[in-house]
């Protein structure tokens, strides 16, 4: 179905030279069979996205760069063609469905591609009927796209990609912007498409563990230009992106590796391994105190009377579903967000009453989109601006940044940094005055396992005796890695204050993957398992 021969792709600098010495994709040779369900993995920045885009012409057409080799689809070479010229063969779905919508109602969106490709009306009608049945969209056809849930939107995007008769579907992290329910909904649809309609699927996905059981093969984009494809159990020698289930198998020397939870559970019960108890981190002095915090927007109460305390030397995770009030809580604590009533005190001071500049020495915060804070044309300018703004000696921010992210060429454009590097940059801008409270709002968006591990390490280094870290997230594995304490927020109410072992352990609704597999009390992270 798809045959790739000697495919090489490199990004270019504005002056026309190659961006890096090693091409992003170098002499790739592989074949994908009709109806195959392929999981595409690789560390962040390795070129998963580029690989998928090279298959439908978006690279280099939309990314810039040079491509060579052969891209045979049903025997015809489409390399170098514009994406629209073979849109009838390949459908493409990306991370944010709402960002890719061209119409305002579901039906308009679904038929767009068929209209562009001048498909006869009767045929469009038949295919709309078939797809809306298959993807459960019948009752949504006349709805407005903005009123749909994330999962529904992504289903519409899949229907829109398949309307023109494509039998190949490329999906670039389709669940990364969805919550757990939405992700489950989308992945179930993909399994159905692969099994019942024999659509060829190439899926780049970071929730590897959720789909590993259903895919036919795993394709790894290594980042050094090479791409390999093989059976799921053979493809994870590279620990940079291996999910916990694979890592567990590797630690315990399972052969072949278990790729589904049920199988891993069986193996664990057969031969359970020893594990370390999770170390207890002693909290220090009280740093922040919130009493009867209420946040309402108009008639909507986002936060209903929350009281809690944060202590030094402690990483507190604030968990809750989308819309449970996590962000509102963070912004209310920080002082620049809405606070309808209640008291916040950081070392005896109310941050709301301070100027933004003065606040920096009390509270630091990393917002959901770290890049929102970046507005200059080079890394050096950003670092310099930060020193000047905070009135600290020149170089303070730069040395903070280097501690977190290592040495990076400061002439780079801040928007060209990786997601992890941008996060580190914003962390160092915010911590320029060594604030005793650090708040992070969903910091793990778009980070893979390796980048998450790096962030976890950074956060543990930043947890000092007089600093408290609050982490708003719904990322269970990340919380298992770093948190000392877990607060749960449901519909604006603080419902529990537990240790991670209780919050994420076996039997809990938020059990981590290791806890699920091993069903062993007290075991929640892979780091605890002895080799």
């Amino acid at each position: 179905m798809i045959e790739i021969k000697n495919l090489t792709f490199s990004y270019l600098n504005p002056d026309g030279t190659q961006k890096s010495e090693v091409p992003q994709l170098s002499r790739v040779n592989l074949e994908i069979y009709p109806g195959e369900f392929v999981l595409v993995c690789g560390p962040t920045g390795s070129g998963k996205s580029t690989f998928l885009k090279a298959l439908n012409g978006l690279a280099p057409s939309f990314t810039g760069g040079v491509i060579s080799g052969q891209l045979l689809i049903n025997g015809i070479d489409y390399l170098g063609h514009e994406p629209h010229s073979f849109a009838n063969l390949i459908g493409y779905v990306n991370q944010q469905p709402e960002g890719a919508f061209v119409a305002d109602t579901v039906l308009d969106e679904i038929v767009y591609s068929a209209e562009q490709l001048a498909m006869p009306e009767e045929q469009i009608a038949i295919r709309v009927n078939w797809l809306s049945n298959l993807l459960n969209l019948e009752h949504l056809l006349d709805k407005s796209l903005v009123n749909l849930s994330g999962g529904q939107q992504q289903r519409v995007a899949i229907a829109a990609a398949l309307i023109s008769g494509a039998k190949i579907l490329l999906l670039d992290e389709p669940t990364s912007a969805l919550d757990l329910d939405g992700a489950t909904e989308v992945l179930a649809i993909l399994k159905k498409l692969a099994n019942e309609e024999s659509v060829t699927i190439l899926l780049a996905e970071h929730r590897i563990s959720r789909v590993l059981g259903s895919v036919d093969s795993v394709l790894v984009v290594h980042g050094d230009g090479s791409v390999t494809k093989g059976k799921p159990e053979d493809q994870f020698n590279d620990a940079r992106f291996a999910p916990p289930i694979i890592e567990l198998g590797q630690r315990l020397g399972w052969k072949p590796l278990a790729i589904s939870n049920a199988e891993a559970n069986k193996r664990w019960i057969e031969a359970p391994a020893n594990f370390e108890k999770l170390g207890v981190n002693q909290p220090h002095d009280l740093v922040l105190k919130a009493e009867d915090l209420v946040v309402s927007f108009g008639t909507v109460q986002a936060l209903k009377s929350c009281s809690f305390e944060l202590f030094g030397n402690q990483i507190t995770a604030l968990m809750g579903d989308n819309g449970s009030g996590k962000s509102s809580l963070c912004w209310a604590l920080q002082g620049s967000g809405t606070r309808t009533s209640g008291v916040v005190s950081v070392l005896g001071q109310d941050p709301k009453e301070l100027s933004p500049q003065a606040r920096l020495s009390l509270l630091a915060m990393v917002p959901q989109r770290a890049a929102d804070l970046l507005f200059l044309q080079s890394l050096a300018d950003e670092l310099h601006e930060s020193d000047e703004y905070a009135e600290v000696p020149p170089g303070t921010t730069a040395s903070n940044f280097q501690k977190l992210a290592g040495r990076i060429d400061t002439s780079m454009h801040p928007r060209d940094l990786s997601a992890g590097q941008q996060l580190a940059l914003v962390l160092s801008l915010q911590l320029v005055k060594d604030a005793p409270v650090l708040i992070l709002d969903e910091p793990t968006r778009g980070l893979d396992y390796a980048a998450k591990r790096a962030l976890a390490k950074q956060l543990k280094n930043l947890r000092t005796t007089n600093r408290s870290i609050l982490l708003a997230t719904h990322d269970i594995e990340f919380v298992a890695m770093v948190a000392d304490r877990v607060l749960s927020l449901v519909d604006g109410n603080l419902v529990s204050d537990e240790s991670p072992i209780d919050a994420l352990g076996a039997g809990s609704s938020r059990a981590s993957q290791i806890a699920e597999i091993t069903a062993t009390p007290g075991l929640i992270t892979i780091e605890q398992v002895k080799q």
Binding site: Y92, G99, V102, E115, A371, F375, Y389, R415
Partner: protein, 324 residues
């Protein structure tokens, strides 16, 4: 809710945007043919009332206020101009006899302000002003009730790219406002630096964000087949030549129209030739787009009612009913 239920047949959401525009233009045309103050007031009232009864919650529905204010300004300006700068050559039928003031404006000429105002000239000013106001309100009615997004779908092929750019803009606008609010809030974290940087600190992240989103949108359009056009160089050349001819005839026609003392058949024929070439060029470039239009907006019974009303209005206007 009550309101939309009662006038369901003609509510803004259900009626074809084209029908609203036809109705608006018919009203405007009738107004331009009328020279009766009461008919003009009637047309204005009908336009206002229709908006009041049929509009929905969309942002453009509120724009009728803009048209109303504009109409009132036009009437007032006409009257004020007549009173202040009138030529003061009326001999009889004086309505107001104001003292005349002379102002030297340089350039060797002077201006007489105020002076005698005749009833006749006052009437003429009021009529002209009201006629323009009625036209403005009639167009305003269509603009307030017709959904521009639906209208964009009906754009002919030649203007498809422009319509696509506008659709992209309309898609991006709400996201842009969201990202503006988000960035503004995040700015609170880094404080507002001095002067220039404060503006850049908001504008640059928002722009970067929006550009990123727009590229995603463009990629999605391209991956779904947008951009299929016949690019045969010969047909492009023919289209270009026709456009050139159309414009040449039009500019010649305009010049002749201005230079000649009275309109002659020859001026108009040159313009008509220009029109014909323009039409051909339009058809040629429309033909270069290969697309199906699957969802055609249905015309409903409400539209038929609206169209028959418009036809009746136009017919009575041409029948001279509105003139006296």
């Amino acid at each position: 809710m009550q309101r939309t239920k009662r006038f369901h047949l003609l509510s803004a959401g259900r009626t074809h945007p084209g029908a609203w525009w036809i109705a608006g233009i018919s009203l405007a045309l009738s107004a331009s043919l009328s020279s009766n103050i009461f008919v003009l007031l009637g047309i204005s009232a009908v336009a206002m009332l229709t908006v009041k009864l049929c509009r929905d919650e969309s942002p453009w529905a509120r724009s009728i206020r803009f048209y109303l204010v504009l109409g009132l300004i036009v009437v007032a300006l006409r009257v004020i101009f007549r009173i202040f700068f009138n030529l003061a050559d009326a001999q009889s039928g004086i309505l107001l006899n104001l003292p005349s003031v002379e102002i030297d404006l340089g350039f060797g000429n002077s201006l007489h302000l105020l002076g005698a105002v005749s009833t006749l000239s006052m009437n003429a000013a009021l009529l002209d002003g009201l006629r323009l106001a009625a036209i403005i309100l009639a167009i305003g009615m269509a603009n307030s009730l017709a959904n521009p997004r639906k209208l964009l779908r009906a754009t002919p092929g030649a203007l498809y790219e422009i319509a696509a750019a506008i659709s992209i803009a309309i898609n991006l606008a709400p996201q842009l406002i969201t990202s503006l609010n988000r960035v503004r809030r995040s700015r609170g974290l880094r404080g507002s630096s001095k002067g220039v940087k404060a503006i850049s600190g908001i504008v640059i992240p928002v722009l970067e964000d929006t550009i990123e989103q727009s590229m995603q949108l463009a990629a999605s359009m391209s991956a779904r087949g947008f951009g299929r056009r016949e690019t045969h160089t010969k047909s492009v050349l023919i289209t270009r030549i026709t456009t050139f001819l159309a414009l040449t005839f039009i500019v010649a026609g305009v010049a002749m129209l201005l230079i000649s003392n009275s309109t002659q058949l020859v001026d108009l024929s040159v313009l008509i030739i220009g029109f014909v070439f323009a039409f051909i060029s339009f058809k040629l470039s429309s033909g270069r787009v290969i697309r199906t239009q699957y969802i055609v907006l249905p015309w409903r019974s409400g539209d038929a009612v609206l169209l028959s009303l418009s036809a009746a209005v136009i017919m009575s206007a041409f029948g001279g009913l509105f003139s006296r």
